[in-house]
Structure formats: structure tokens, C-alpha cells
């Protein structure tokens, strides 16, 4: 009987690995690495946008979808060429410290408060987001926080501070820091009958809502603007500045804006190009749509009349 021994099996394993290696190395056209948030990836926006951009320019885009905090850290280390993130103060600090060469407005949507359909804390009729959070705290209803220093988490902490509530002090009781992405936090919120703050896009595309409902939205404090930043080659010479610029130009140009506006999840539009009128060719604006005002209205209404 022939003896295909293990040492004989060994080259077989190596051969198999080598045979499959080309699969692992597929796609050797020019590419950029885009560090972005889970909301843009999980909602399907990139699957909608990127093939259009690649078809137009021949540039492939490799997306690392993490929280805004982690995306900024990756870019700081030079591991990304361009950012699409959503926390304006952190973005401005990134550029001010010389890690990014320019920040451009791209689009916005809004954050929403979701919770069990029964709404035990009664936030559905709240006049504004801060009042809604105060009601959750007063009722000691479970609240699932991202707890991961993401853009969503940063905004949530600002809202608690505005409400005058030290939520972190209640951590482990009704306030639960998940330390996880938006989807994982929503899964946990559904399982724990907890409230959660989510960006609208992730919520729209989320497949495991259970009995959870969108309970509060429309406060201008919940606006969620996204900005694109090209990483500074002065800090990291390997950054593909020209390709990254081409991406940001496309994203903020007529074609990219039309693609963003044309994206739908379940019949709803999750992202709105910003600013509304882009007359400036470079599209550099510093405004945040209507930040600071508080009015009860839907995203669609905000879209119709921003600022």
C-alpha cells in the first residue's frame, strides 16, 4: 500500500495555499484606503457609491469601517489615505494638528432615539433630545451606549452633559456602555429592552429591530454632518494624495452628490448632500447645517430647509 505520509501531505497544504493565494491578492489596480464609520458601510452607502467612482476613475477604494475615533487614529498613524467621518470637533482637531490637509462637507443626516415600542420613559412626545434623555434617566430605563469613542458616542456624551446628567456615574446600572459598534449596540438594545442613540442610516438598514421603534427624531441637536479629510502627506509621505483628492472631489462634485441623494434604504433617503448648493468649485465650506437650533421635524424636512 502506498504511504502518503504526513510529510508528503505537507507540500500539499503549501501548494493549496499557493494555488489560492491569487484570490487573496485580487484587485491590484490603483487603490486608496478610506477609513470611515460603520454607518456608511453597514447602510450600504459605499456599495452604492464606490462602484460608480471606480467606474469613472479606475481607482478602487478599500474601506476600513470603524468608529470615527478609531478611523482618526488609523489616519494619524498613516494607515489610511482619506477619511469620511462624522464628528466635527474631532475632525477640526485632526486638521489643526496637521494630520489632514483639508476638511470638506460631504453630506448629513440625523441621529434618532430608538427604544421598546411601549416607550416606558415616554420620550416620544418630548420637546427636544435633551428632555428625552432626562426622561430616560428619571425613569432609570435601560440605555445602551456605544461606549467606544465613536462619533455617535461623542455626540451622546455631549447630549448627556447638556442635560446635566452624569450618565457615566450610572454605568453598570441603567446606563450600559457596550464598547461596541452601532449594529452590535442595537442588537444589545433590542435584547435588553433598552433605549439607544443611533444614526438614521444604520437604523434604517438594521435587520434585527424586534419590537424596537424609532421614538424620537427631528431635534437639530441631532444633526449628523459627515466630512471628508485627505491625510497630510507631510506627515506620511506614502499617502496617495492625488488619488485621495480625486475621491473627495468626486464625492463633493455633481456626480457624487447625485449618487448620495439617489441612495435609498427601504424607500427612505438616509443621506443628504451638504451644502445644498455647491457653487464654490472646491466646495470648501465650514458650516454645519443648522447646528444649535432645536426644532421638531423629520430629516426630510431638515433636508428641505437646512440652516
Amino acid at each position: 500500500m502506498p504511504r502518503p505520509t504526513f510529510p508528503a501531505l505537507f507540500p500539499l497544504v503549501v501548494l493549496l495555499a499557493l494555488a489560492l493565494a491569487p484570490v487573496a491578492r485580487a484587485g491590484e489596480r490603483p487603490f486608496i484606503t478610506l477609513a470611515s464609520t460603520t454607518s456608511t458601510e453597514n447602510s450600504g452607502l459605499f456599495a452604492h457609491l464606490l462602484p460608480r467612482f471606480t467606474a469613472r476613475t479606475g481607482i478602487a477604494v478599500r474601506v476600513i469601517a470603524v468608529g470615527t475615533g478609531q478611523a482618526l487614529r488609523l489616519a494619524r498613524n498613516g494607515d489610511a489615505d482619506v477619511l469620511l467621518v462624522h464628528h466635527r470637533p474631532a475632525e477640526d482637531a485632526f486638521v489643526a494638528e496637521g494630520f489632514g490637509i483639508e476638511r470638506r462637507d460631504v453630506m448629513y443626516n440625523d441621529f434618532v432615539l430608538v427604544g421598546p415600542a411601549g416607550d416606558p420613559a415616554g420620550i416620544a412626545g418630548a420637546p427636544d433630545a435633551v428632555t428625552a434623555l432626562r426622561r430616560i434617566a428619571a425613569a432609570r430605563s435601560p440605555f445602551a451606549s456605544r461606549g467606544d469613542d465613536s462619533g455617535t458616542h461623542k455626540l451622546e456624551r455631549e447630549l448627556w452633559a447638556a442635560a446635566g446628567i452624569d450618565a457615566a456615574a450610572a454605568s453598570g446600572t441603567w446606563y450600559r456602555e457596550m464598547g461596541n459598534g452601532m449594529g452590535a449596540t442595537l442588537n444589545a438594545a433590542v435584547a435588553m429592552n433598552a433605549y439607544a442613540l443611533s444614526d438614521r442610516a444604520t437604523w434604517l438598514a438594521f435587520g434585527n429591530r424586534g419590537t424596537h421603534r424609532l421614538l424620537f427624531a427631528g431635534d437639530r441637536a441631532l444633526l449628523n454632518p459627515y466630512g471628508a479629510i485627505v491625510v497630510n502627506p507631510a506627515r506620511h509621505p506614502q499617502v496617495k494624495v492625488a488619488l485621495a483628492r480625486a475621491f473627495v472631489d468626486w464625492l463633493t462634485g455633481p456626480e457624487g452628490r447625485a449618487a448620495i441623494a439617489g441612495f435609498r434604504v427601504g424607500g427612505e433617503q438616509p443621506f443628504f448632500p451638504w451644502p445644498k448648493d455647491r457653487t464654490d468649485a472646491r466646495g470648501r465650506t465650514g458650516s454645519v447645517p443648522g447646528h444649535g437650533h432645536r426644532r421638531q421635524e423629520s430629516t426630510a424636512a431638515i433636508a428641505a430647509a437646512p440652516g
Partner: protein, 232 residues
């Protein structure tokens, strides 16, 4: 809530349809994990054999360290490789971050101690059995090691399978150093994590079942070859 039955039906539908994206992800998972196991075995088997036969000062300490490293947390290994391969890290110039190569490196580090420790354990037993016979023929300990590697092939195959199990199932390391980039570094486990985060629980479970089927196929293939080898 999806049940296991729904997940199993979905898994079957994906397999029958030969979903191209699924095929690509499965192929990449196998390529990355088999490469990692191959590298780990190339280094780990000879090291395990040496630890089994050669006596040197500090040998016991090395063995304890190797056994301890079997408990390496994948997330920690991912961070370690990230710190090394990041553009700001010592090996940043290689540009390996967020590539399948980085994933192979991370998994090889995870699997290395497992195959080394299991090889050491198995070959130590064989060596105790054969020692007198081999030494009466005048063999030096380092000449014995290759003989042990050949005679212990069945045990070594088991060690390689244990290493493969660790590699194909881990998500923490490949998520950090691969970045879960579609069509570049997305593998089975990172896809399962992604679909879970999208709330597509049935699809995530279906992919988990398919991953188990792949492991079944690999284990069955290796064990079948081992049977032929022994003629039993």
C-alpha cells in the same frame, strides 16, 4: 429571532446557488488560514522536536513559555501585528497593513505555539519509547529529531488540525490587521461579525454553519489521508 433551521436552509441555499461572493470569501479564508498553518508548522514542528530531544539549560522555561503562548488572545496578537506593520511602526515601510499577508502573519503567530506545544508533547512520548534503541545505534539527539518527525506524523497532523481550527475560527486578529475590506481582506469570520452588526442574524448564523462545514471537509480530508497512510 432566527432559528437554527432557518439558518441551515439559508446556508444550503447559498451553497447550492454557488454564491460568487461566498465562494470568494471561503477561498480567501482557506488561503489565509492554510498559509498561516503551513508557516507555523514549518517553524513549530522542528522546534517541538528539538524541545523533545535536546537538553539545554532553560529548556523547561522555554516549554512553559510555548505552552503559555497557546493562550495568546487573538485581539492582542492583532494589536501587536498592527503596531509592527502600521505606517508609523517599525515595519511600516513594507506597506503590509490591511493585506492578506498581514492576516497570515497574525494567524501564524497565533497558531505557532499550538503546533509547537502539541508537537513537543507527541514527540516527547515517542522519544521516551525509542530513546534507548536509537542511542544504542549511536544516534545523537539532533539526528533523532527527523526520525521522530516522520514517525510522529499522525500526531503532527492532529497538531496541524488543532492549529487550523484556531486560525479559521478567529476573528479578533484578522479584523484588526485586515480591516475587513470587501474583496480584499474579508473572510468568513469577519463577514459573520459584519452581518451580525447589520442585524442580519439568520445570514450570520448560516455563514457560521458553512464555516463549520469547511472545517469538517478539511478535517475529514486530513484524517482520511492519515488512514491510508496507516493502511487501516
Amino acid at each position: 429571532m432566527p432559528d437554527l433551521w432557518e439558518a441551515a436552509r439559508l446556508a444550503l441555499a447559498l451553497i447550492v446557488a454557488g454564491d460568487p461572493e461566498l465562494v470568494e470569501i471561503v477561498a480567501r479564508s482557506l488561503a489565509v488560514s492554510l498559509s498561516a498553518v503551513a508557516i507555523a508548522c514549518l517553524a513549530g514542528f522542528p522546534l517541538g522536536a528539538l524541545l523533545a530531544v535536546v537538553r539545554f539549560p532553560g529548556r523547561r522555561i522555554v516549554i512553559v513559555v510555548v505552552y503559555t503562548l497557546m493562550s495568546l488572545p487573538p485581539v492582542f496578537v492583532g494589536l501587536l501585528v498592527y503596531v509592527l506593520l502600521s505606517r508609523s511602526g517599525p515595519l511600516g515601510v513594507l506597506g503590509l497593513m490591511f493585506t492578506p499577508t498581514a492576516m497570515v502573519i497574525a494567524q501564524a503567530i497565533l497558531v505557532g505555539p499550538i503546533v509547537t506545544a502539541l508537537a513537543h508533547r507527541a514527540l516527547r512520548g515517542l522519544y521516551v519509547e525509542y530513546r534507548d534503541q536509537l542511542c544504542s545505534l549511536g544516534a545523537r539527539p539532533w539526528q533523532v529529531a527527523p526520525t521522530l518527525l516522520v514517525d510522529g506524523r499522525t500526531e503532527l497532523a492532529t497538531a496541524a488540525l488543532a492549529g487550523f481550527g484556531r486560525a479559521i475560527a478567529e476573528v479578533g486578529a484578522v479584523l484588526i490587521v485586515g480591516g475587513n475590506i470587501a474583496h480584499v481582506t474579508r473572510v468568513m469570520t469577519t463577514t459573520i461579525a459584519l452581518e451580525t452588526s447589520k442585524g442580519n442574524l439568520a445570514l450570520a448564523m448560516a455563514l457560521g454553519l458553512i464555516l463549520l462545514l469547511i472545517a469538517l471537509a478539511v478535517n475529514a480530508a486530513v484524517l482520511a489521508l492519515g488512514r491510508d497512510a496507516r493502511g487501516t
